[in-house]
Each structure stands twice: as C-alpha cells, then as structure tokens.
Amino acid sequence: MSDRFRRDTTLPFQEIQGQAVIVVPARRELHELDEAASFLWRQLAAARSVPDLVAALCGEFEVEADAAESDVRDFLKELEGKGLVVRA
C-alpha cells in the first residue's frame, strides 16, 4: 500500500472564502473543511507523504511537528475513510 496520498480528482470541489467544499455526488454528500484542512487539501493536488504534509503544515501554521503529524494522520484517516483522499 502506497504511503503517499492525493485528493480524489474526480470529486467536484471549490474554495469558498479559503475553505474547501467537496462534493460526493454518488452519496449526495457535501464536506466543508476548516482552514488547516483546506490547506492540506490544496497540498494534496499532488501526491504527498505524511512527512511532506507535516512539513508543509509546520511551514504555514505555528504548530509543533509532533502535533502536526497527529493532525495530519487524523486528517488523512478521516478523509480516506470518506473517500475524499486516495493512496497515490
């Protein structure tokens, strides 16, 4: 199983005032991400590993690496579970 992730490029989405809104038409679902999650979503336009995302998050927000890694893993687990993010 790949350790790199990317967003599912088949899903409609738009950034509304800096927050990503993702649509899952097959399930009639809408998902709205907060600022940090929207930042990670933007990073996932290309395949990224957990360390890639942690480094990007630490570069953008004032957050310790350990906390950032925990946040990134939670984010990926949640969005992969919802089918919004896939293994690259």
Binding site: P12, F13, E15, I16, V23, P25, L30, E32
Partner: protein, 347 residues
C-alpha cells in the same frame, strides 16, 4: 453538520458575499419538442434571429472564469441541452474543472447509451427532467410531439436505474392541472424525487402566448386545496427585512445565455454584459445591473413594499421582469397566488 445545512450555509455565504456559487449555462435554444409554455420563444413560429451560440472554444475559458469566480454548481440547460452537438464534450470539460454538474432536460434523448454516458460523468450532481402530464396524451399535448411522454419517462427510468439522481420537474398548466395529483402519485410510486411549479413566464422574444397556458385562480385554488396542499405555507417572516424579500439573483446565482449574455438568473433575461466582450468575473464584479440588484431594498419594490401579502408571496423576478420590463415589477398572477395562500393558511 448535515449536507442540507452545509448547502444552506454555502448559499447564505454566497448571498452575503456575492459569490456566484450557482450558475446556469444555457447551451442552445434549439429543442426537439415544441412546448406551448416555452419561455425561450414561440415554438410555433420560426426561431428569432440571434447571434451564434457560444462555441466550445468560448465555453472553455468561460468555465475557467466561473471557477475563479467561485462557482461550484453548474447547470446545463437549453432549449434542449442534450441536443447541443458538443454536449458530451461540454460535460467532460465541466467535470474536469471540478464543477458539480446538473442537467435540465426534456428527457427525450435519454437513450441507453446516453444514460450510460451520463452515469460515467464524475461530478454529475443530478438530472432534472421536465414532465407535463401523468399520461401520454396530456404530456404530448404540451410538447406537441407524439411519443415524447414515453421517451421522457422511459429515459428517466433508465437514468435512475444507473444510479443517477433523477428528479421529475412538473410544470403545472391548464392542460395538466387535473392530473397533478396523478403526476405526484406517479413519482411517488416509482420513487422519483419531484418538484412542482405552477408558475409560467412570458417569453424572451417578447411574446406572451405562454401565459395563456397558466392555470386560472379557480384551478389554482383547487390545486392548493388538493394535491398541492402540502405546499401551503408562508415564504418568509411576518415583516420581512430586505434580505428576507430578495432572492439569490446576482448574489449567489447567475446565468449565461446560449449567446453569451450574462443574466442574474436564467429566468430573468436582464442583460448585465456578454462574455464575448468581457470575462464573466469582470461582469460579475462591475456590472451596474448586478450592482443595482444587489443594492435593492424592499422599499425599492414600489408595489410590493406596502403589500400585506409579502409573507405569502412566491415572487420571482423573472415573470415580473418579462411582464413589465421592470426587475422590481409585479406579476398580478403571483399576487393572486399569495392572496390565495394566505386565505388557505388562515382556515
């Protein structure tokens, strides 16, 4: 947060911050049926002269512009959108840009192959199919094309069977008013989502023959006492504020006609600019027409402002504009409907 509340929240933000979240793109005025109530033009007459339709080469940068402006939900309509010779390419272009795509159609072109192809479009949010009766003779009487009911309904069933969200849109008029209950029962029995709309507008070409198809006051009362009784209710608070009275036109909604004219919505052909002259984003941000609409207050709706029916009124600017040429004008049919709704709700 539920998906409905996310969508409501998005529309509220689009309204507040004027983000064109929902855009309708009219691909063509061509159509393969000849509905008596069509708002495009009188289909018993030759098609009025107009500029050439937007080409695919014009639609691509328009879509890019819409993305930059904040559009998420893109609806393709016509005429008959599926009759456009580049329909599938346009769908693919929309999907590749990340739009949640909807298609409004008369359903007659929903063949097996078309349904299969629609079902494969990533990002297809749904298809809305116009239906004008519960039986073929009624529906075909409206479309003036024999066999259209069978094609529309069988196409709708095929599409839904492939997992595409397929909603029936019932337009209520004199010819089918007695069948509205049966139309709803048909949708319920087959598990279709549906919407019911008794409002008919004048036409883009300035003719008003479509209005002859509207139900009269007596028929409307029968409908709201009968099959549409569930729709009787207030539209807004007792004393609505400016934002309670206005709709999302030119704030969260916009439309682009088949020749590139930009409107506040597809039902209100009030020209704000042309994407052939200016990018959509510029028109959206600078058009005096849009600025005026955004700045309207209840007091600017001279007839509506003092009216005691505002709470019950289902006013849409389209019919009023097409009837009076004034965005803030009044369609008396809508006033009669509001009076009826108030009367029925008080019983």
């Amino acid at each position: 947060m539920s998906d409905c509340s996310i969508l409501d929240g998005l529309n509220a933000r689009a309204y507040e911050h004027c983000i064109p979240l929902n855009v309708t793109l009219e691909l063509t005025l061509r159509c393969n049926i000849r509905c008596t109530h069509c708002y495009n033009f009188d289909r018993d007459q030759p098609r009025p002269a107009s500029g050439p339709e937007l080409s695919l080469d014009e639609i691509r940068p328009l879509m890019d512009d819409l993305r930059r402006a904040g559009t998420l939900f893109l609806t393709l309509t016509g005429g008959e959108a599926m009759a456009h010779p580049r329909f599938w390419e346009i769908c693919d272009e929309a999907a590749s840009r990340g739009f949640a795509l909807s298609v409004l159609t008369n359903g007659t072109l929903l063949t097996d192959a078309a349904c299969e192809r629609l079902a494969r479009i990533p990002g297809l949010w749904g298809v809305s199919v116009s239906v004008y009766g519960a039986v073929a003779s009624t529906h075909d009487g409206v479309t003036q094309v024999a066999g259209s009911f069978e094609r529309t309904m069988s196409g709708s069933r095929r599409l839904r069977a492939r997992g595409v969200r397929t909603a029936l849109k019932f337009i209520v008029m004199k010819l089918n008013a007695a069948e509205v209950g049966a139309m709803i029962a048909m949708a319920d029995a087959e598990g279709f989502e549906y919407a019911v709309d008794p409002s008919i507008t004048g036409r883009y070409d300035g003719t008003s023959g479509s209005l002859d198809t509207r139900v009269d006051a007596a028929a409307l009362e029968d409908l709201y006492k009968g099959p549409l009784s569930g729709f009787v209710g207030p539209m807004r608070p007792e004393n609505p504020g400016d934002d309670d009275f206005k709709c999302n036109c030119a704030r969260g909604n916009a439309a682009v006609s088949s020749t590139g004219e930009v409107y506040p919505c597809i039902a209100t052909p009030l020209r704000a600019g042309s994407v052939r002259e200016q990018p959509f984003g510029e028109i959206w941000g600078t058009s005096p027409v849009f600025r005026r609409i955004r700045g309207l207050r209840i007091a600017d709706f001279k007839t509506c402002a003092p009216c005691g029916l505002k709470r019950w009124c289902r006013r849409s600017p389209g019919p009023a504009y097409l009837l009076t040429g004034d965005y803030t004008g009044v369609d008396p049919w809508t006033c009669a409907e509001a009076a009826l709704l108030k009367q029925l709700a008080s019983k």
